[in-house]
Symmetry: C2
Subunit: 80 residues, 2 copies
Amino acid sequence: MAKEKAVFYHAGCPVCVAAEQQVARALDPARYEVEVVHLGEARERIPEAENAGVASVPALVLAGQAFHVNFGASMADVKG
Amino acid sequence: MAKEKAVFYHAGCPVCVAAEQQVARALDPARYEVEVVHLGEARERIPEAENAGVASVPALVLAGQAFHVNFGASMADVKG
């Protein structure tokens, strides 16, 4: 079975780190290939995140759906 | 290795169902024992959720930390 892609977008904030360690790392590695994207560093991926419906970070995009996990920063803040 | 307990609290709302299907079910079953609690039905568990820091549903409590996944309803709404 091909793994589904999961993308975890964050911006390095403390709320982001907690969510990455607890939620993103808790996904089933047998079913999901998890990519962690730091939008402060990979700014060219901001449009891709916004297109997936990401309005704030940290957020997890699973099967094309954006799940915002707690609230670290808005995308407006990430864009600066 | 003993499995860690993960509790997913929801209230039956559409946002809750999406989060349950995508996020709660995506956790690694080798590491987590996931319990799904419908707070509208199991109202006696509302204090337990609040003590864990749950302010809105859907929420996932992992390792004692509450992660709010998108926003379905506030705990005030759940309590009615």
